[in-house]
Symmetry: C2
Subunit: 211 residues, 2 copies
DNA sequence: CTCATTGTAGAGCGATCGCTCAATAAGTTG
DNA sequence: CAACTTATTGAGCGATCGCTCTACAATGAG
């Protein structure tokens, strides 16, 4: 047992992960529908038959791309910050500043794949739009949870509204992704991140945020 | 002179404005590329030949739709608020709250057409994406100008950064449009608008905003 | 009336879309 | 070696894309 099992039949002639990365870049840059099978096979260096054998149809390839993206450094920074930072304030401040640095980074397409890859979609691909929307709304729930516990722990004042705050950060992050796609650079986005954090509640008395 | 000129030839059998409105709804809901000529002609109640005679090709139809949108109540509220409100603070507060009410309004597709109609686009339609991006960036400049004069007039403290503030409001508005498309309702967006206005600078001393 | 002008209707153009399939190649197994 | 299994190749499927063209209808001008 535990035997890996010798691979049978003709071995693959391409690197599956590398091909997936190329597909990710295309979907990330152009979005789901605007990326054609022709462009995909060319970028991945394979023929349609190989693509369908290795990844299934375009839909499932895209979903696998999204999962790979979520596991990548660019896609995972939000969850990591929420896990590592001791306070909600520090977590969201870090998230916004990392987004400001990552979204316009020229080493990959601008903005967040999850936010922008399926905003315009035909009826027959509505499933893909719903798939990404659910992902975004799930992320919103994670924000909500973190802020609710922050309130229970006393970091947030009782008068604060965790749900509105979660929506606010989701809005700022999605807006920053859009602005990065419109050409905003890291410096501009960092200034925006600072502005956005100024809305953190309970700054009234002494402006001493739970640092 | 001044003669309107009697229309020659066979008169049009459809209402051009009504047809344009139908095209707007489709582009607004699905985006530029995801809306097909087939859907357009069906929704507008005309045949392809009539569409091309009256509006030119798909590109120019879309551009005319965008101009009509900008003149509509849904598309023009930002400019109106900037013109009517005496202070920048009141203008942006009004803009955010109107966006919160308008973007999720069920009487039309969610969000802002200018923001979401061409985020994913193939290479051959890149011109359309650039067209909308330029529109968004022009709007950002309007924000910047308004905030710069607010600073010159003393409404904004000297330490404030009008450029960052303009980018911040652009981010919040674009994010609110996205959230509306993801299903956020007017109540939720209004709470977010309140949160966002709390970032307005120079709230330090007495929290008395220039109301 | 005839003529010129404009609009409509419907068929269908070439190109591209996502995708499939038969033939062949390249491995392991016995 | 032959048998089996899987991958690659390249042609090409039906459907849809944006768009055009021809035949005909409806108006005003003369």
């Amino acid at each position: 047992m535990g035997q890996t099992g010798a691979p049978r039949g003709r071995p693959r002639t391409f690197d599956r992960d590398a091909a997936l990365t190329q597909a990710m870049r295309l979907f990330w840059e152009r979005g789901y529908e605007a990326t054609s099978l022709n462009e995909l096979t060319e970028a991945m260096g394979i023929r349609p038959g190989s693509l369908y054998a290795a990844f299934g149809d375009k839909r499932s390839l895209f979903k696998e791309v999204v999962h790979a993206y979520a596991r990548s450094s660019v896609g995972a920074f939000i969850g990591i910050a929420l896990k590592e930072e001791p306070t909600a304030f520090r977590a969201f401040a870090r998230i916004l500043h990392q987004a400001a640095a990552i979204y316009p980074d020229p080493s990959h397409p601008a903005g967040c794949l999850t936010i922008s890859a399926a905003t315009n979609v035909t009826v027959q691909d509505a499933e893909i739009a719903v798939f990404l929307r659910d992902l975004r709304n799930a992320n919103l729930m994670v924000f909500h949870d973190r802020l609710r516990t922050a309130q229970q722990e006393g970091e947030l004042p009782p008068g604060a509204d965790p749900r509105a705050l979660a929506g606010y950060f989701a809005v700022v992050i999605q807006g920053m992704s859009q602005r990065a796609r419109d050409g905003a650079d890291a410096t501009e986005l960092a200034a925006i991140a600072d502005m956005a954090m100024a809305a953190w509640p309970e700054a009234e008395p002494g402006r001493s945020s739970p640092n």
